[in-house]
Amino acid sequence: MHPHHIALITDLERDLNFAIKKISARLILSSIAMLSATAGISLIATPAHAAETPTKLYGIVTGSTEQPLEGVGISIAGPDGFNAEVITDALGAWEVLIPTKGTYSATINEGDLPEGQALTDPTKATVKANVFMPGVELRLLFPIGPGVKKATLLERSVQLTVDGLILGLIIALAALGLNLIFGTTGLTNFAHGEILTFAGLLTYYLSAIVKLPVIAAAPIAVVLSAFISGFLQDRYLWKPLRKRGTGLIAMLVVSIGFAIFLRYFFLFLFGGDTRQLPQYAGQAGLELGLVNITPKSILTTAIGIGFIVFATLWLLRTRMGKASRAVADNPALASASGIDVQKVIQAVWILGAALAGYAGVIVTLNQGVSFLMGQDMLLLIFAAVTLGGLGTANGALVGSLIIGLFVQLSTLFIPTELKYVGALVVLILILIVRPQGILGRKERIG
């Protein structure tokens, strides 16, 4: 099967900033763990032009604001007992000529770093370099940031809380639609993640191929998502199935088949790469007090909150919204009291697909789009919905925020790569205590 890469929006986005700015000053506190992934790749091999070029390791040690750091000791160890010590010059530069190919390791003397500067990842004090042929120059990077080691738990917690709220919002946008559809039709839709992927692909297509500005491509993608993933999908797939009297578990299995079909159809059309939008991909973050946040995140989050407020008002205030709650409660009774159930379901699909589509646009803006994007989000969406209580609109919001916050804040204590595991474990633990979910109705458990 395919390799499954789960990547988190905010971390990955920073990771990208990081790659672009090389080792930069404003390495955000919370990305420490991600660095362990990048530092390994931070060896940039420059093939030599001619054999007379000496084989060397070199680098420039810069601090948190890209200022060169002078007088930092670096020791190199290599095969056959090779050993060398260098000290960085006024430009922060150092280099060591090495005799043969092999694996070398460079260790920075952390004691030489000036006040307020420290490795952002303490495990990267030693960086390995694999010199695979003579005559190459390998550049080694040490990730140095503003005294991260002394960063307070409070500072990291604040940043992670903001990251968690943003992730929670993205999950909530997708979960709201999933939950509305579940509430009105009983369908547990495993193909909901593909709505995100589709909207993301549309945004990419409209901006990178049709050359629209992203600011125009994104709303068009959301509208198309509402029309194609919402209206058309319901009209030509689920509505006929409801009419046939297909059972709920049968529809669940159909949605699994549909998800697999779509996923590989996207792969077929689009290929397996993660693609970045032509604009805003490596946007720099703003420092706001203890928090580092990109302008695009602020804007998309604000619009996302607007969407959620709109959806909530729709549910609470409009005739159609009230009708949808009536249908969720008792479709037969709703129908008997003159509500056009099919029309309500159609409205719910359109709204749900628009919200999920917008979630897909945000993810695409932040971390790029790949055919697996929806699948990667789906379990988190399900976890959020189940946690809040299947079929309850407020439950989806509460569950999403809890999952988002938990995923991010858990990295204070567990390795970043296991943060989704933590969220899923919490899901299972809460269900032991409250099987119906936090806001779910008790009567519905089996």
Binding site: L252, V254, L418
Partner: protein, 331 residues
């Protein structure tokens, strides 16, 4: 087009290692879903537990392979208990989401760098952990005929594997036709009715989960042995979904359904893939339509589409009985 080659590949896959793995995984699901009505979407987790349980003890602790099998069965029982305690009281769709989450937890822990020393990280484990099994192989020269072709090791896995499938199917047949099996089916149809007869439904469901899970972990044994390697990403949610496809194709709640389902499933997949591949390489299918690398993607698309159509038009599968299994008893 080389039709003989296509036929050889297709028939070998129909009787091959993958068909055995999916038959066993689906037999386990048949216990869960077909007979007890439990919507277990975490079968891939049981396979992963089985596979890692044979690889890790042999490679890291030098334990005999035969002991490792026992460890694998023990681990899958523990996993079933862990999974069952919180979920078996939940409604069917909650159960589905929790089991799928549990299987993902297993996979992500298995592929994490944190436990790389033990579990091999995202590269998994490759090594000669199955030598004790292959040393017993009397058919080292393999089998090569115009219509069937297996390497020596594959032939040994295929022969022992199908014997294993036959034994387990027989045990299943005895179990589901016993009074115990009738209680299981009654739970599937109406849990409350069974409860009112004084049966402990929770306990019966737990037994079902354990038995099906152990059979799933045996599928994991075969997966690991046949390849002499364990890759964490092979045990993703797709594995579970295709095991369901196999089960539904054959007909849920039929003892022989998983075997027939697995054979037909792999027959169709490999046949379509080989025909497409031959078509692409011999330029019958133009390049702009399907590239050589895209054949696998088409295969997955067809698998998804097939599952949809099957569920819509023939949810009882090939041999299933609509009366025996209304798929919505638990919804």
């Amino acid at each position: 087009m080389d039709f003989l080659f296509i036929i050889q590949q297709t028939l070998s896959a129909t009787l091959g290692v993958n068909a055995i793995i999916f038959a066993l995984a689906a037999i386990g699901l048949n216990m869960h879903f077909g007979y007890t009505g439990l919507l277990n979407f975490g079968q891939a987790g049981f396979l992963a537990i089985g596979a890692y349980s044979v690889a890790v003890p042999v490679i890291s602790f030098n334990i005999s392979l035969w002991v490792a099998f026992l460890i694998g069965i023990f681990n899958s029982i523990i996993f079933a208990l862990l999974l069952g305690l919180p979920t078996l009281r939940l409604r069917a769709d909650y159960l589905a989401i929790v089991t799928i989450a549990a299987a993902e937890i297993v996979r992500q822990i298995a592929r994490s760098a944190t436990f790389r020393d033990f579990l091999g990280g995202s590269d998994g484990i490759t090594g000669k952990f199955a030598s004790e099994f292959f040393d017993l192989n009397p058919f080292k020269q393999g089998l090569t005929t115009p219509i069937l072709r297996f390497s020596g090791n594959d032939l040994w896995v295929v022969i022992t594997g199908w014997i294993l499938v036959a034994l387990i199917t027989f045990v299943m047949w005895v179990m589901v036709n016993s009074p115990w099996g009738r209680v299981m089916r009654a739970i599937r149809e109406d849990e409350d009715a069974v409860r009112s007869l004084g049966k402990n439904v929770y306990l019966y469901k737990m037994q079902s989960l354990i038995i099906g899970g152990v059979i799933g972990s045996i599928a994991g044994f075969v997966y690991a042995l046949s390849r002499q390697s364990v890759q964490p990403d092979n045990y993703g949610t797709a594995l579970t979904f295709f095991a369901y496809t196999v089960l539904i194709l054959g007909g849920a709640a039929r003892v022989f359904a998983p075997i027939i389902g697995a054979m037909i499933f792999w027959f169709l997949i490999v046949f379509i893939e080989q025909v497409l591949r031959e078509g692409v390489t011999s330029d019958v299918i133009p390049d702009w339509l399907i590239g050589v690398n895209q054949v696998g993607q088409i295969r997955f698309m067809l698998m998804g589409l097939g599952l949809m159509l099957l569920m819509i038009f023939r949810p009882q599968g090939i041999f299933g009985d609509k009366k025996e299994l209304a798929l919505d008893a638990k919804a």
